[in-house]
Symmetry: C2
Subunit: 337 residues, 2 copies
């Protein structure tokens, strides 16, 4: 069955395509099109099952009503939630979203950005990979609106929406301390990304504020792609240097799962012997057997803000001021007081 075109409707009614286009786009009033003919157009379009070709419209208007979303890995629940939140906010505004996974890989990130730009997306929501400052700078120069999310580069002036990692790390470590923990470790990733650095800074600040000493051997990093094998080695090292370690802050939920695994094998009790706290997607530890403190980032709010900022910029091109938003996380404290 051939698809109906604007011109089919026009021919069928003996009017111009201009007329039909105007009516179907709800511009009858502004163009003083008679109610009678407008009604007939609407009716005929429906009867002929007309569906506009959005590609043609896009070529003409220069707008695709599509935004690109770049995350590290859509299969990871944290990014899956970001995707959903972006989708909802975009859909509400008539936009669709094309997603791509960067796998924290610089080259892949570069390719993805190019593809998305060639596809003429109207804007981009990006969870940036480390060492992509140049890609982001180039993007700025090409005048394509974008908003960084979850992470950002302090040296580049861009829009971004992130969460308050420093405060969250500080506060959750304070909770550990308040519950008697004194030798607290910190495990991050070896990414050169500022949000991780801020978490570590927050951790350090909490120690300092409580008069606890900071020990280098309790402040470690693992490689993201090999965390499963790295984590036990790191924990071995930490416990060897500080056998009295009694709590641990982990920079994401997967690290925490591996830590649980490690502690079970080592027959340490959680949280009595070693308490765990980590950054995790909302709800992630709700059904976990062990009471683990988590920092839940306000994903939905972050994405709503990000999409809104993006759409604002799309609609008033050439806006020179950047929006930089930091939203508070939620602490879920599952043990002690």
């Amino acid at each position: 069955m051939k698809r109906t075109l604007l011109s089919d409707i026009a021919r069928c009614l003996g009017v111009s395509t201009t007329l039909v286009s105007l009516v179907l786009n709800g511009k009858s009033k502004e163009n003083r099109i008679s109610d009678e003919i407008a009604a007939k157009v609407l009716e005929t379009a429906k009867a002929m099952n007309y569906k506009p070709n959005l590609v043609a419209r896009s070529l003409r208007t220069g707008q695709t009503q599509t935004i690109g979303l770049i995350v590290a890995d859509i299969a990871n629940p944290f990014f899956a939630r970001i995707a959903r939140a972006v989708e909802d906010e975009a859909t509400k505004n008539g936009y669709s979203v094309i997603f791509c996974s960067s796998d924290e890989n610089t080259d892949k990130s570069d390719k993805i950005i190019h593809t998305l730009v060639e596809r003429q997306i109207d804007g981009l929501i990006i969870v940036p990979v480390e060492n992509t400052e140049l890609q982001i700078t180039n993007l700025k120069e090409s005048n394509i609106p974008f908003v960084l999310v979850d992470r950002y580069f302090p040296k580049i002036k861009t829009n971004y929406v992130a969460s308050d990692d420093y405060a969250a790390a500080h506060d959750i470590v304070m909770h550990l301390i308040k519950n008697g923990k004194k030798v607290i470790g910190n495990i991050s990733f070896d990414f050169d990304l500022v949000h991780l650095k801020k978490r570590t800074d927050g951790y350090k600040a909490a120690l300092a504020a409580s008069g606890l000493v900071y020990a280098m051997k309790l402040d470690e990093k693992v490689a993201f792609h090999t965390m499963e094998t790295d984590l036990p080695l790191v924990m071995d090292r930490m416990l060897q240097a500080h056998p009295d370690m009694d709590a641990l802050l982990l920079h994401n939920n997967q690290l925490c799962y591996h830590a649980i695994n490690y502690l079970q094998k080592a027959e340490k009790r959680i949280p009595e012997d070693i308490a765990l706290a980590c950054f995790a997607p909302p709800g992630d530890f709700d059904f976990n057997h062990w009471p683990i403190d988590t920092v839940e980032q306000p994903i939905q709010l972050i994405c709503q803000n990000a999409v809104q900022i993006l759409l604002d910029e799309i609609h008033q091109k050439g806006n020179p001021d950047f929006k930089q938003v930091s939203l508070p996380s939620k602490l879920i404290l599952r043990f002690g007081q």
Copy 2:
């Protein structure tokens, strides 16, 4: 900075856009374009940082190199994995993917399909919602290639790739029985979808094959959107009717989390008092404290197959035969033998 067009390159070199287009699309040889000029075109395109406008190309060729993906909820880890697997296979073949969440809602599914069709996607991968037979039939008539995934409608002839739910349910219940369980419950969703029915059929078959009686009060369903509150009520009813219930098959992982919760409150041991088995995304219970049997569907294989079938159909339009694939799941048995 203005974007470079084909015509800019042509003008710059004093050749036609035809020439430039042919070269950039790697058709120099077929059109016997001199190596010299081809090289110059390539060089200039690079120097001018040319990025083709894929929207214009799409309008001309009638192909968008985009596939639409409709899942129930991209934030759900199961569907997030589907998204990732689809993305990888699509990207490998030069396609991008637009995703949409249906929320198991018929109207939403209808809207999404329309939007995607208007956007001229070349094909669709769909996890269909219940009661959308009509939508799927209409899609067939509009000649847009599509493949159903995870679920399908037995009454409609379409492409689909699913997993062998009957065998998986049968086999995992057999494992419960083999380990001494005799009063086994089954909790599904109240969706009118055949894959769920097959799971229940497999459950029944395992009971029958083992000489265990099937009890209606042990075979229950909950409403998807209210499972959290429904599940405890259902389990109350089951245990009231059969206080000796010693195992339970749950049709997805979330149900299982709520069941764990329930059993902990009831101070029942897992698996000694009541063993649990469920369908779950790969790896989902790897870090769980309780040894729970899971059926892991071969998501990656399903999606690779689905995308391949879709692309085959896109490239040889009017292909009349439907591919219907059922792939074996993997059983992860975590207790007993």
